[in-house]
């Protein structure tokens, strides 16, 4: 397999490691005694300043990858096998104390449910201040000033007032913006956004995405955007990875993956997307259901629902390159 780097534009200055580099990454969860594989042999890169979208249905493993990067769950609950590096440093080698310096600092995360992701008993400003207390040496005054700056960056008209308010006094969209402000407090290298707009109204979604985009451009921030909303992916992503049943089915530039699609699953997904019609054809769901981790085998996990499947699909499928920077795990890729 060849490492994936940005497919468009001139190659970046040599030897700068990608912000995120995953090689043969597998994840296991523990349910009592049982060790269940939920992500199989995934490899991808995220370059500096890149907006990388990880797309898939629920059950595909995308949220677990995010949690693995942050090591949000202890090893006994979420086991990481394979290589997972942040700017050249292997995340699995780091001690918990070192991980803590990364969390909220160089890597930060925003979550899907702004309603429950903020502590209801603490004012917004204080919650932002907490992450600054961990990662910076600024005094209280300096911190408060920065908090107001951050809140105004996410387009709050009266940042001082918002800082004093409690989460229940804000709407969903406002809470999500506050979370973004909090996530950017320590100038992270990578922002992981786990379905940040799923729980929001369509109009608010735009606003939040625009804020993320603008801040990303300003701070040269990499974004790992996890979603199942293909229209947002189409609008904002530089590169896309398509995950199905724990396997990275396709990975490449947005124009290639979304525009042209090498993998039958990606094509099928696009057919289902509310705003996307292929040749004016009507929306279709994909017949069948996603196999559970207990049913997985070595062959292509999509073969039961794929219209192009044949006998070759029952064996292990290697990754094949369609073009530099664009690959698919399929023995019968679409042309």
């Amino acid at each position: 397999m060849t490492p994936q780097t940005a497919s468009a534009g001139p190659a970046p200055a040599a030897a700068e490691p990608p912000v995120i580099s995953a090689r043969n990454l597998s994840l296991f969860v523990r349910d009592g005694r049982k060790r269940i594989r939920i992500v199989s042999d995934v490899s991808f890169d995220i370059a500096r300043g890149e907006f990388f979208a990880l797309v898939g249905e629920s059950g595909s493993g995308k949220t677990m990858i995010a949690r693995a990067i942050m090591r949000l769950l202890p090893q006994r609950m979420l086991e990481i096998e394979g290589e997972l590096s942040f700017s050249g440093t292997r995340l699995t080698d780091l001690s918990e104390a070192r991980m803590r310096t990364l969390r909220g600092g160089a890597i930060s995360m925003i979550f899907q449910e702004p309603m429950t992701s903020l502590d209801p008993l603490m004012p917004i400003g204080r919650q932002i201040e907490e992450t600054m207390e961990v990662h910076s040496d600024l005094g209280h005054r300096a911190r408060m000033e920065r908090i107001e700056q951050l809140l105004s960056d996410v387009r709050f008209a009266d940042p001082a007032k918002i800082a004093r308010m409690y989460p229940n006094e804000l709407s969903g969209g406002m809470r999500q913006r506050a979370m973004i402000a909090m996530a950017l407090a320590n100038n992270p290298r990578l922002l992981i956004a786990d379905e940040p707009t799923t729980a929001l109204d369509v109009t608010i979604q735009r606003e939040v995405m625009e804020i993320i985009q603008r801040l990303r451009e300003r701070h040269d921030l990499s974004v790992l955007f996890i979603s199942h909303d293909l229209s947002l992916v189409h609008q904002y992503a530089d590169r896309v990875g398509v995950l199905y049943a724990g396997v990275l089915m396709e990975c490449g530039g947005e124009a290639d993956v979304i525009g042209r699609s090498a993998h039958p699953y990606t094509a099928a997904l696009l057919n289902c997307a509310p705003r996307r019609r292929v040749n004016g054809a009507r929306r279709q769901g994909i017949p069948g259901t996603v196999p559970s981790p207990l049913e997985w085998d070595d062959g292509c996990r999509f073969r039961d629902r794929c219209q192009f499947a044949d006998a070759k699909c029952a064996a292990a499928i290697p990754v094949s390159d369609r073009a530099p920077g664009w690959s698919a795990r399929c023995v019968r890729p679409l042309s």
Binding site: L72, R103, G104, F111, S117, D119, M122, T131, H135, Y166
Partner: protein, 336 residues
């Protein structure tokens, strides 16, 4: 916020009225009245009629209720049949002892139960968790009068470490500043009296605390576990906070709210439990007074004490309700 407080206060009024009606109803519906109880068996009809008139028992029922209410408002609870003294005064004399016992019992219960509950939650599934569970379920299942007697048997009868009844030893007195013996002893620097006062408090307070310890520790454990599974804890981890900070700043405050609820609910058990514990330990509070009043069928005194306990309960619950408004922002807010 003021609006919320006034709403709660106003909401308590119909309840108070209905409660007074219930108490009045009990009093009037009960067979036998002052005339029956106070006059000898061979009293004449005329004597009974006179007695009834003196006590106002011959007026129409709603007039009597009105009189009852106005008396209540003026803190006039009538006169005890037995002691021939105003009920209000009799209760006033002994109420501080009850409050003092209840206070120390609650304090003991909270100080023991909350750390136990947190300990059990943070060590979920391990031996210490099971041990706390055993203590909790036993505390809740053991009748307080039995526990009290066992404690007396062991610590008093066997070890002679603690006394089995009363509030202070014979001959030891404390100046009556507030009415609360421990406080008065402290204020007047009577260290020996203070020490004795605690010695006498030990067994009754422990007995009363035991059942509460059971419930409070269980709820604390459950609520700490629940709080740990909330989404915002993940957010805190994602911010790079240490486990200790997260527990201290995000977990425990959120877990505290159900615990405050349960303490509020336990106040009722505290009040009714104190009656029994006072009787077991001959504690000079309104519980023993109630017991004595009932045994001589002293209606006014019984009613007065029942009303006092109920009023206490209602007021305490109201205070806890109002307290909530201060600690939980979600009860105040509206969207910006």
């Amino acid at each position: 916020m003021l609006h919320l407080i006034t709403t709660r206060l106003l909401g308590a009024i119909p309840v108070l009225l209905l409660v007074t009606l219930a108490i009045f109803g009990l009093l009037r519906l009960a067979p036998g009245d002052a005339a029956d109880l106070l006059l000898p068996e061979d009293a004449t009809e005329e004597q009974m009629a006179d007695m009834r008139e003196a006590w106002g028992l011959d007026r129409p029922i709603w007039v009597q209720y009105g009189q009852f209410l106005t008396n209540l408002a003026r803190f006039d609870l009538g006169e005890s049949y037995r002691y021939r003294a105003p009920v209000f005064d009799l209760i006033g004399e002994r109420l501080p002892a009850t409050l003092e016992l209840s206070f120390y019992a609650l304090l003991l219960a909270v100080v023991v139960a909350i750390p136990l509950g947190v300990l059990a939650a943070l060590n979920k599934g391990k031996t210490i968790d099971a041990a706390v569970s055993v203590v909790a379920v036993s505390g809740v299942s053991a009748p307080s009068f039995w526990v009290g007697i066992l404690l007396v048997l062991f610590f008093s009868g066997y070890l002679h470490l603690f006394p089995s009844s009363g509030q202070l030893p014979y001959g030891v007195t404390v100046p009556d500043i507030t009415g609360f013996v421990t406080l008065d002893a402290l204020l007047s620097a009577s260290w020996d009296a203070l020490f004795q006062a605690f010695r006498y408090l030990a067994l009754p307070a422990l007995t009363l605390a035991l059942a509460m310890i059971g419930i409070i520790s269980r709820i604390t454990r459950a609520s700490v576990i629940d709080a740990g599974q909330e989404e915002h804890v993940f957010t805190a981890v994602a911010k790079g906070m240490s486990r200790r900070s997260i527990v201290r700043r995000h977990l425990l405050p959120n877990a505290a709210i159900p615990v405050v609820t349960i303490i509020g609910l336990e106040l009722g058990a505290l009040i009714s439990g104190s009656i029994i514990v006072e009787v077991v330990f001959s504690w000079p509070g309104i519980g023993t007074l109630l017991f004595q009043a009932i045994s001589v069928r002293d209606m006014p005194l019984t009613t007065g004490i029942v009303a006092t306990y109920t009023l206490l309960f209602i007021v305490l619950n109201l205070l806890i309700d109002i307290f909530y408004v201060f600690i939980d922002p979600r009860l105040r807010g509206s969207k910006a």
